[in-house]
Symmetry: C2
Subunit: 409 residues, 2 copies
């Protein structure tokens, strides 16, 4: 296998330049979807593409596609991409890295005069974060036919402004119908947004899918009583029930690792007064898993924990599901190709699941899809202090380049 | 032993009449210390005493003493009493019952022409609740020399008005020096303000003392991380630590019963977001015990639980004592006399400790002291729905009457 490498310095410079659009006071970026800052980031990207002679198309949802190869190629393209929008005061790498690694990929191919059998599109998906319009991954959702254009345009922000109005105002109602071309393989590189690679010192994560999640609201009812005057056996202490559930959720989570996890991270105690035994606790707990059957099993175990504990502590309980999504499996063949590339590049790697959702989730319903993770410092993301090392960014981009060459030929 | 009995109907009527002063909308009473409503309650009581020919004295802190027997008797009196002030929207019985049972006691003695060797004073202590001026049991505190008049008068409410100013405004700066007379025995009857008598169906509690308490603020520090992306073994989950502490505090409490208890009833989680593993938990926990040595042991066990759990869960911890009071022991000889009287009356009874503080705590440093509890519905107190049955009120008053006859002869 012949190995090519990207220009790591050029990639890094483009990341730092992009971070200047909507630069936030704490060193991050503030390019919330469909704001003027988001537009500024898009124009910077499109300017770079046109400067280098890549054809740019925009679809009705403002998704941007920069093409390497003939504009009217017969074969469905390999699509690489991610997003340029950020959380309010977000980081420099979440999404941006996947887009600019794509740009670095096609710049490298062009520089080296490499011809590929299939064309390559670098995609910028509109509104991945969903922090202003309450539906994340909206551009890729539309692209993959998982919602209509009308539905997508109808989402409104807190001020009542719709996605459609902002697309119009910013000049991003394009006419290209790129989904009609199909996608032969979709590849997204991204910072991990978790601590596994960083803490274990692995350089590349081959992402096999996104864990499914099932989350529950749990309401425990006991009885308030005076802590000074009520003997322990006469209490119905809602906080005791909550504590035992939290401990058992932790044990369940430990038993599900590495393919699943379980968490309980928030609760409210009423009356929450040191001298009054807790009458009510409202809390949340969730289970996550890589495999659909195991997710269902974990849900049953969580329900048993809650109901058994309530019975044992004399509490009444209501437990309602607030959200559920099935696990998403990426393409195993594509994963094998990426693993092979990583081996040839001599990088350390692990197979990994994503906890968070990505545009790749939508694409996985549409085409063979794979993701590649690089480490981020302390696993921190959605934070101005989000950081990855230049060498890690370069390594991820080299994996992308050589994998895409395989997918495209 | 010759047994006398009180007029239960008269006692009950006086309770219901007193409840009309400062009557609150939910069926309770609202006679917060040193307000116009408190004064109204005092005047009603003094009016009843004078009507029945009992001599009334008021000391510098507004404590009221209604005497049965010669005003200038040589021997120190038996003092019975409690308080007429209530919590904001408090109940009809807390404190009031002890005062009006005392009045019923001396009315019965007078009616029957009973002469006692020692005089009997019915005391109304100023500001027992401390809900306006932040020092409960203030009148009995002054009386027993545990604070000076200047200190007691200097407490201010939220509006900046002092105890001294209110005593002056309401006309309750008396001149009697009643503490100088001494107290031969102090007896206080009270609703239990807890569930033990009510739930076990016992009619009388012989109160042996007030549990000591030691309370701690506990601050647990872990690290926030994303629940979706952070494997369980990489977490430092402050809520897990808190949960394990709560469960062990419960076990400690169960092991201390019936002479002690332990509680943890309030906590705050940061950031308290379902998707973010808890970085910080601030919580409180306390231990209570009847015996000083056992209280110290329980404190050590609580500290061990907290520090061991923090170490096992990888958290850092700060633990600081926010309050401590030593156990108070009432007079065992007096308890024996009360128990004997209860037996002669044929009432069921248990020995019991008080969880809450009472004026009797201050008096116990000054004279042989005993308390008598009667049941209250569901153990509820400091609440407009506070309730005791007329028969229970009568039984407690009969125990008071016959015990005082023994103490006074």
């Amino acid at each position: 296998m012949r190995i090519m490498t990207v220009n790591g310095k050029r990639l890094w410079n483009s990341l730092m330049d992009m971070a200047q659009t909507g630069a936030s006071i704490g060193g991050g970026s503030n390019r919330v979807e469909l704001t003027d800052e988001d537009k500024e980031g898009r124009e910077l990207f499109i300017g770079w593409c046109r400067q280098d002679g890549f054809d740019v198309s925009i679809d009705a949802m403002g998704n941007i596609f920069a093409r390497y190869g003939e504009a009217d190629h017969d074969l469905p393209p390999v699509v690489v991409g991610s997003h340029l929008d950020t959380q309010p005061r977000g980081g420099r790498f979440d999404g941006v890295y996947g887009v600019l690694a794509g740009l670095e990929l096609i710049r490298t191919l062009k520089e080296n005069g490499v011809k590929t059998r299939r064309p390559i599109d670098v995609a910028v998906w509109t509104n991945e974060e969903g922090s202003r319009f309450n539906q994340p991954m909206l551009g890729s959702r539309f692209f993959t036919g998982r919602c209509t254009l009308e539905e997508a345009r109808a989402f409104r922000d807190a001020a009542g402004i719709s996605v459609g109005e902002e697309l119009n105002r910013l000049g991003y109602e394009g006419t290209a119908d790129r989904a009609a071309l199909g996608v032969s393989t979709y590849v997204e590189v991204h910072i991990e947004q978790g601590p596994i690679l960083y803490q274990t010192g692995q350089q590349i994560g081959v992402v096999l899918g996104v864990n499914g999640i099932s989350g529950f609201d749990i309401n425990l009812e006991g009885a308030t009583c005076h802590a000074a005057t009520t003997p322990i056996p006469m209490r119905r202490d809602a906080l005791l029930g909550a504590a035992r559930i939290i401990d058992q959720v932790h044990s369940l989570g430990a038993s599900l690792e590495p393919n699943g996890r379980a968490s309980s991270a928030s609760l409210r105690v009423t009356p929450n007064v040191h001298n009054v035994v807790a009458g009510t606790v409202s809390m949340k707990a969730d289970v996550r898993h890589r495999y659909p059957d195991s997710l269902r099993e974990a849900e049953t175990k969580l329900q048993d924990i809650v109901h058994d504990t309530a019975r044992q502590t004399g509490l009444s309980v209501e437990m309602t599901q607030y959200g559920r999504s099935e696990p998403i499996q990426f393409d195993l063949e594509a994963a094998g190709i990426v693993r092979d590339v990583v081996g040839h590049l001599g990088y350390s790697h692990v197979d990994i699941m994503s906890g968070a959702g990505h545009d790749a989730c939508n694409l996985s319903f549409f085409a063979p899809t794979i993701m590649i993770f690089i480490p981020c410092k302390d696993g921190l993301s959605h934070n101005e202090a989000e950081w990855t090392e230049p060498e890690d960014a370069e390594r991820g981009c080299n994996v992308l380049l050589n994998s895409v060459l395989k997918f495209a030929n």
